[in-house]
Symmetry: none
Subunit: 200 residues, 4 copies
DNA sequence: AATGAATGAGATTTCATTCAT
DNA sequence: CATGAATGAAATCTCATTCAT
């Protein structure tokens, strides 16, 4: 149980992370300055370094902090659904919801983290498989109960399903095509994506 | 018809672009130095600035230069195919081929260009729709002849199809999962992706 | 007579000084942080500033505090010796003893204090003459009683004698040549140094 | 044979080193900024880094560059002297000359280099033995021909002789006692130091 | 046209010092 | 008295870009 001091310490770390998400999303990780983040968080430049080892560490910590919450959200959402098709639909819905509610965070996850240092890139990909594994789980179940086609290669499908969903989300974030709402997109993505997997 | 001098000028520009592709892929756009590119290209630092306005311009020029060739490749490949399903398969095959033959280029397209400056982000998206429009063309045709379901939203589908393909390619590049060859992946991706679109 | 409270105040100041000696010796005055000293002393960073005006002041106070004890040690040791040659031998013995017993302190005296700010440098030299004056006293006496050569310039000799002793000590601390023990060195240093001064 | 370009490159490196000597002597290594050195050298800040890896490297390079010249000077000066006593006198004379002609350099050698990072400290001591070995050579010769006492421990004597000379020099630089000229000091130092070593 | 040394703005990071608790 | 989180000035170093040769 955190003492009052620890709690406020955690709160400040959180505040800096939120600021970083906002600033990195807007300016990009490399173009953004630590100074920018500090200003957004309302702290002094040096304060950042009391909570994070360096700029890279800030990005990594941000990622881990947020990732934890996101994976939880997915688990909670999928727990009570048994039909794999419904699970897949729910996965997409949750994913789009997350993005709709925090586009800045999504930008950081989808764009900023993917580049940066080679080290960070590797790191990202490694963490990234968390997402893929959720989908793999759904596919496996669906295959076992004969819902999905037996020739379907789970390993490849989990990737392309994720890619499909992710790209729809990214394009929405980038607003390149603000012509669609994410909720519309959910229907379309589900229908078309899922039908291809069915066994019958 | 270019004179000999002009030709060699073009050749040097090409050489710098190739060097940039290699260096940006390996180090990332921001982490790579202009010096690195110059060394890789075998020219002096200053020479780069005789051919490109600045570092950003090098990335953009690189993109445009390559994009032209790639779009040509696609057009040529799809020209003589009339069945939309076959066209989609061909699109995937060509895409995977491109990536297999020049993974560095793909990295730059997929990762570096997606972020960089906000300015570049916008720029990228605009160019990016060229890709998407090829897919859109295929879908439109397929819909018109009743091959694809009439409820299918072309605008969203072109995006998610691209995302699916792209992600399979990215994962292959990253080698995170070297467990699949791109040719295997082609089958799986086509089958599952396309079946969902069929009208019957 | 100090109250209990004052005593504990003095004790904490002492504790900080000891910590500073250790830390400065190991890391060097500039490379060491106030935080390091605080940690070594087992107090908070800010506490240091309740006892010392700033980092420079810590070094100066350290010096003065230690210097007092050292000069006392010398005075006590030399008090009951009348023969100047024996006094010189004793001086060397005491000096080497000090260094053997507290090499950290010696490092701070010999190395750290010598540089630092120009201000500190001046300060050091000024305090430094305390040492030299002890030697000068011995030489004067020896000259007066005809023990040391009359042409001997006390002013220069006090310096070079100190330098000789000090360097032997420094080399021992540095361990660059751990080949000699300080007690061996005492003999050699005394013999050779002193013989040159004799009048006969 | 250096080309014109290489020559001017070497010249600029030299210019920066001279500036560094001056600035480090005046302000101390840690208190001085790279900016200060750049200004003194009449170049831009960044230029320093074209010639030296970092601030530490500047100090080390400075040391090595100068050390080479100094050792040469000693070797040339001692080459044609056979009497070890005369050699020792000459050593002192040359040493004092060097210091008189370039007090700034001496300060850097004597004060700045001795502290700085632990790494530099070690480095300094290692290079330092070059000096000591010259003296050791003289002592050895003098002992062999029965000029110096046979009980004399060369290893310790080389150290204390150097210390004696060095301290006289340092005090002169510091001007703490501008009361003596270095040439006066030479006589005194030689006489007193050397007499102690004689065998008869 | 080509070179690459030089520039200097600007970014990251450190750390002595302060002050609210 | 003591604490230690916060500050922000300042230092080192990088690197895109320029320009004399």
């Amino acid at each position: 149980m955190p003492t009052k001091r620890e709690k406020s310490k955690e709160a400040k770390k959180e505040k800096i992370i939120e600021a970083a998400v906002k600033v990195f999303a807007k300016k990009g990780f490399y173009t953004a300055n630590v100074k920018d983040v500090a200003k957004e968080a309302g702290v002094a430049d040096g304060t950042i370094y009391l909570y994070f080892k360096n700029k890279d560490d800030l990005l990594i910590s941000l990622f881990e902090h947020k990732m934890r919450g996101i994976l939880d959200t997915f688990k909670r959402a999928l727990k009570n659904i048994s039909d794999p098709l419904d699970q897949l639909k729910e996965f997409i819905k949750v994913y789009f919801n997350l993005i709709e509610n925090d586009p800045d965070l999504s930008d950081v996850f989808q764009v900023e983290l993917r580049q940066s240092t080679k080290f960070l890139k590797d790191y990202h990909n490694q963490q990234f498989s968390n997402y893929l594994n959720i989908i793999a789980g759904i596919l496996e179940k669906g295959k076992k109960i004969g819902f999905f086609r037996s020739e379907m290669d789970i390993h490849i499908c989990k990737i392309f399903i994720f890619g499909a969903i992710d790209e729809v989300a990214r394009q929405w974030i980038l607003g390149a095509d603000a012509k669609y709402s994410l909720s519309e997109a959910t229907e379309q993505t589900c229908d078309n994506l899922v039908k291809g997997l069915l066994a019958f």
